[in-house]
Amino acid sequence: MKIEKLDAPQLLGLNKFNVDEEAAHIVIDKTICARCLEKPCLVVCPAVLYKLDKNGEISFDYAGCLECGTCRVMCKNKGIIKWEYPRGTFGVTYRY
């Protein structure tokens, strides 16, 4: 990808992922998230995987997760009800 401003999906598209289709390693409870006013996850996730949908509800896709743990550290109201590393061999594979 040439040097220009890239959006998150473009950047994630460069990475090698082995997505675990059977088990999500991070699970959120949207009812808790709905009550969270700050929603820091929207800006601190480097992969921008936490988004607001049209109804103002948080949506999250674990498939492009870089496994940094920032959302876990920042989630104040515990809307993230499960945060684990992906099962062995699954998730991101950094090649460099």
């Binding site: 990808m1 040439k2 040097i3 220009e4 401003k5 890239l6 998150a8 950047l11 994630l12 460069l14 990475n15 082995n18 700050e38 820091p40 929207l42 800006v43 601190v44 996730c45 480097p46 992969a47 921008v48 870089l66 496994e67 940094c68 743990g69 920032t70 876990r72 550290v73 920042m74 684990e84 590393y85 992906p86 099962r87 062995g88 061999t89 998730g91 991101v92 594979t93 950094y94 090649r95 460099y96």
Partner: protein, 430 residues
Amino acid sequence: MSDTEKFDAIIIGAGPAGSACAYTLAKEGKEVLVIERADSPGAKNVTGGRLYTYALEMVEEGLTQEAALERRVTHEQIMLLDGDRSINIDYHNPAFNEAGQVPHAYSILRARFDEWFASKAEETGAMVACGIKVDELLVKDGKIAGVIAGEDEMYADVVIAADGVNSLMGQKAGLIKDISAASAGVGVKETIELPAEIIQARFNLNNEEGAARMILGCTEGIHGGGFLYTNQDSISLGCVFMPEEVARHGQSVHQIFQNLKMHPSIYPLLEGGETLEYAAHLVSEDGFRGIPGKLYRDGFLMIGDAAGFVINTGSSIRGIDLAILSGIAAARAVIDSQDPVRVGPAYMQELNNIGLIPAMKAVEGYKDLLEIPRIYTSYPGLAADVFTRLFTVDGQVPRSLRKEIKGLLKKNQLSLWQLLKDGLRGYRSI
């Protein structure tokens, strides 16, 4: 695996801490199993980054010569950005990395380096099992007796957690709590491919020489900074932010970093290159004060990032070398303790003996210096203003520099008093 089969040590994580520990243990004939959740060592790991090579030499003299390294760092640079303006300081000391001596520091890429280091541990006799995630610790009679991975139970005299900054194993052992948002930064990085000759020309480097650059003023005033390392045929460009301040600021980590990449003083260094990969990782920011109160319990030790071993002085950021030292210290403790109960206290002693704890304590105060918000909000702008004034000749009668600086302080919402106070605080903390 049967219950009777028992390792001398099980190490969780094949990063630099885990591999240094495994190497040292295996060399002494210990039965060691390293369990790594990635397909290959390094594939989950991220650095800026560089390795200070003295640590590898402590594992084994001469190891640096065969290590998977990128460029020996001979140019140390500090860059200040404000808007489109920039100031770059380049410290070049040819004697710093003279041939015939072990170079001081190398840039590295973790997928290559960690895989090499784990393979060295394997050659020495350690067993490295990749693609396996440890799910739980096995507790027997209050002692950590092994690990559980899926259906498998594996036993060892000591389990060593080398599972990184976000150490779930340390939490499961009850030694650490959730990481507080104020104690970790989030780092992002693009690895950008460029031909070696172009990198050398753009950074004024000979052959395998390399540059390392810290960048201040690229974080929208958020506590944090950028970094750039030249690899053999790629550039690592990244940025670290305190996530709490990002949340308050409102612009995303991703967006601010993309702006840095396109800065008029950064983009020309990258132009024509190709982004290969986008990575992210947490980095511990508390230094000595962030080391957990207890790094061991019966049958269990924590090493590397899991134990909070990171030093950030602003000019040098150290993690991998400390990880390696802690791996050696843990191995020595295991080797020298006949009684398993003595391993934990012996490890603390070895951390002191090897100089890790004293080194971290010596620079403890730098955290106070780096917490001065004006370092990120005002000082890069003030510096750029001063330089603008110094280099502007427009035919007007110049004002005295003293008056000019007074005006520039005001423009940057600073006072002389504030400047002196920060100077004193800085002086006290170093």
